[in-house]
């Protein structure tokens, strides 16, 4: 990709998350959304108008065959990720693949092989890693502000439906169907974010994982996998642990401009603690990042806390990576480890035992 012409992006899948996924491409001076594709023609046309895209398709193959597209952003349901990403790569496009990249490691490996075979870039997009409060917390931990990091604790509060984003019934349907989602909407879909955060702040990888999951049937093929409690142990001689708890507080109002859930993170070290008090929602009116050390508390107020900003940053990173010929923030190898962690948690819940990541990888 040269710097002479803008990177021409094609967005495949114009559902809810496309509203945010488009932000980086719209803002970057060296990129544009040249085409969109969605099986709903009206939606595709509306998005094309909104984003200034010249072409709107209803068939993915036509988007892949478009010579005026350099890169494809894959935003389709998870069970279609392998098929769509592979076809785009085979057509010579760079690909940004929404998390979770695929339902299995074998699917991801086949997509990665297509990227290698065609000499095209493949990045997996996970937005929590671009959220400024998370970046600040990681910077503090890496700088030794909490001493030796010993524990990462995440808590997700799922709130009352209907208070945040309007999500179409079709989107809810595929996400709540384990076959099309690839697992549970909580542990696998949202979990990809949280499992990535489990790795994001620590200098070592997760070695073992255990999960309790309560499944609730919402319809014949609709299931919600929450509440849930996942715990893990990191590799290495230093004893480090982490946990992620999902509370299905479906009667609670979670203030949010997006999905009605919020995530809080606590990174506890040998000499201090960092809290990240918000993410997707606006559950707490607290400083987004707080550091405790040596009996003193320091709050960080000057961070961008809008969840949408993490998508904007992620889009910009992909364009910059292609322009600069460098790896994007999330490479396939990195994504593979996060996916393995999500799969290990699913296996643990299904089999009722602790799972070693080596069994999965």
């Amino acid at each position: 990709v040269s710097g002479e012409t803008p990177l021409r992006v094609g967005l495949l899948g114009c559902g809810r998350i496309a509203d945010l996924q488009s932000l980086g491409y719209l803002e970057h001076p060296d990129a544009c959304i040249a085409a969109v594709c969605d099986c709903d023609e009206d939606r595709a046309r509306a998005r094309a108008r909104a984003w200034g895209a010249e072409r709107a398709y209803t068939e993915a193959e036509k988007l892949f065959a478009d010579p005026g597209i350099d890169a494809v952003e894959v935003l389709t349901p998870h069970h279609l990720h392998e098929q769509h990403a592979t076809a785009a790569l085979e057509a010579g496009k760079h690909v940004s693949l929404q998390k979770p990249p695929t339902r299995t490691l074998a699917e991801l490996d086949r997509v990665a092989a297509a990227a290698e075979r065609n000499g095209r870039a493949l990045r997996v997009f996970e937005n929590f890693m671009h959220y400024e409060p998370h970046l600040k917390a990681r910077e503090l931990v890496a700088a030794g502000a909490v001493g030796e990091p010993l524990s990462v604790r995440l808590k997700t509060a799922a709130g009352r439906f209907g208070d945040g984003w309007e999500v179409s019934p079709e989107t809810q349907a595929w996400r709540l169907d384990p076959e099309t989602c690839g697992g549970g909407a909580t542990l696998f879909d949202h979990g990809y974010h949280c499992f990535h955060m489990a790795r994001f702040f620590m200098p070592v990888e997760v070695a073992r994982v255990h999960a309790f999951v309560h499944w609730t049937r919402l319809g014949e093929r609709a299931w919600l996998d929450g509440p849930a409690l996942v715990s893990w142990r990191y590799a290495g001689e230093v004893p480090r642990h982490g946990s992620w708890e999902v509370i299905a507080s479906l009667g609670m109002r979670v203030r949010s401009d997006y999905y009605v859930s919020d995530d809080r993170i606590e990174i506890h070290g040998s000499e201090g603690i960092v809290w990240v008090n918000r993410c997707t929602g606006r559950l707490l009116e607290e400083p987004s990042v707080v550091l405790y050390r040596e009996g003193e508390t320091r709050a960080f107020h000057d961070l961008e806390t809008d969840w949408a900003d993490s998508f904007r940053r992620g889009g910009i990173d992909f364009v910059d990576a292609l322009r600069e010929g460098r790896a994007p923030e999330q490479t396939v190898d990195d994504a593979r480890r996060t996916l393995a962690l999500a799969l290990a948690a699913g296996r643990s819940a299904a089999e009722g035992r602790e799972v070693d990541l080596a069994e999965i990888l």
Partner: protein, 139 residues
């Protein structure tokens, strides 16, 4: 999720997949999770509101795995299911793609004639028949 031989995992694809039915039969609903059985198709039993499954290449049946049934619970379900079915240990796939062996009530070979060609839906059963069905089960 106990793997010990004193408890069993069952795969339910019909009326037992409705929690209300399990609650009446066992007095509790064991921990449940979605699962899929490949290679079996589900049809309504002729003249009945419940289904049975038979081996059919390329087909699949979605259902529920219940964990931790004790011997008494399993014996109770055996009596409830009766001679129309035989219980087999089959491999089902969990939501996370993990293979699990689960006790499954399959239509006995000698009873295949009892099946209609009509696919069966849990959603339709719950809407139209569950309340009467549970009422009839109560002592």
């Amino acid at each position: 999720m106990d793997e010990s031989p004193t408890t069993s995992r069952i795969f339910a694809y019909g009326t037992l997949a409705a929690e209300a039915v399990m609650r009446v039969l066992l007095g509790r609903v064991p921990p449940a999770a979605p699962a899929r059985l490949e290679g079996y198709a589900r049809y309504r039993v002729r003249g009945r509101v419940y289904p049975g499954i038979v081996a059919e290449p390329g087909a699949h049946t979605d259902g529920v795995v219940y964990e931790g049934l004790d011997a008494a619970g399993l014996a109770l379900l055996d009596r409830f299911e009766g001679s129309l079915y035989r219980r087999e240990s089959l491999r089902v796939r969990s939501a996370s793609g993990v293979g699990l062996v689960a006790e499954t009530y399959v239509v006995a070979d000698s009873q295949r004639h009892a099946l209609s060609a009509e696919p069966w839906s849990l959603e339709r059963f719950v809407e139209s028949h569950l309340a009467d069905y549970v009422r009839a089960l109560q002592p």
